[in-house]
Symmetry: C2
Subunit: 136 residues, 2 copies
DNA sequence: CTTGATCCTCACGTTGGCGTGAGGATCTAG
DNA sequence: CTAGATCCTCACGCCAACGTGAGGATCAAG
């Protein structure tokens, strides 16, 4: 399979695939003329890589994890890497969830304002400082 | 309040605060000698900015949203911005959750391997391709 | 008055995951 | 055989949120 098809089926750019190879994330055979040849499995592999990229892992971190997919041999280091990254992702999810909830609260206030533009001033302190209690 | 104290209390670097001012996210008075003077409210404001940064918003996007904190006046544009960003954050949370679940599955496989290193080969296809069904 | 901590303004450096030509070879359908 | 699509290798560009000095002014305490 050539690079264009892999790119299309995995939903990434051709440039991205070449970059992945440069980083050692995917290995491609070469045709006599130098064109990259990918096995079918490359598509799933690339999708997995994208999944981890989307979760904020660096190519170096992904490179550490990828061998596990082939071997399924869980060395202690591999188990640690997996749980470490899982923990990092959890932290990110928590941060995003906080931001999400905060925006939701502001959206609620906005909706209240639309219903009664004059009577909402009592909520002002909620918007100004939600997380900290009154200071006096 | 001077910049060092604000930085400490808000949990960011002094450089970051100067950068925020450069982006128009915080406004600081100046002492006669040119030192920045912040009001108490700056700490909460900066924390809010950090919250949105952590959620992946750009300074431009944050700049669009910040006025709402002061006025609490919900123009239609403001409501759209808020809901748009909330939607974007949701998408990110979903992506992170998928990655989290996938790693969790791999961790489970790793644990199975540790318990019985030889009998896990039947799970190999699960690791190789979880999302797609068998091809033949 | 001095000294160490804090502050100021430039202004260049960093990091990662690609985008985007330049310039040229190769493939494939008609 | 030819033309358009696809591929190749450099190699610079980009963007965002700061980090990191350089070189100098200011402040607070003893």
């Amino acid at each position: 399979m050539r690079i264009g098809k892999v790119a299309e089926r995995a939903g990434v750019s051709v440039r991205a695939l070449r970059y992945y190879e440069e980083q050692g994330l995917v290995i491609a055979d070469r045709s006599p003329s130098g064109h990259r040849q990918y096995p079918e499995s490359a598509v799933e592999r690339v999708k997995f890589i994208q999944l981890l990229y989307a979760a904020g892992l660096t190519s170096k971190a992904i490179l550490q994890i990828l061998p596990f997919l082939g071997t399924l041999i869980a060395t202690p280091q591999m188990t640690r890497r997996l749980t470490d990254e899982r923990a990092r992702i959890r932290v990110k999810i928590d941060a995003l969830t906080r931001a999400h909830d905060r925006l939701e609260e502001l959206i609620r206030l906005a909706a209240e304002y639309e219903n009664s533009p004059a009577t909402c001033s009592a909520s002002a302190d909620v918007a100004a400082s939600h997380t900290s209690p009154p200071r006096h």
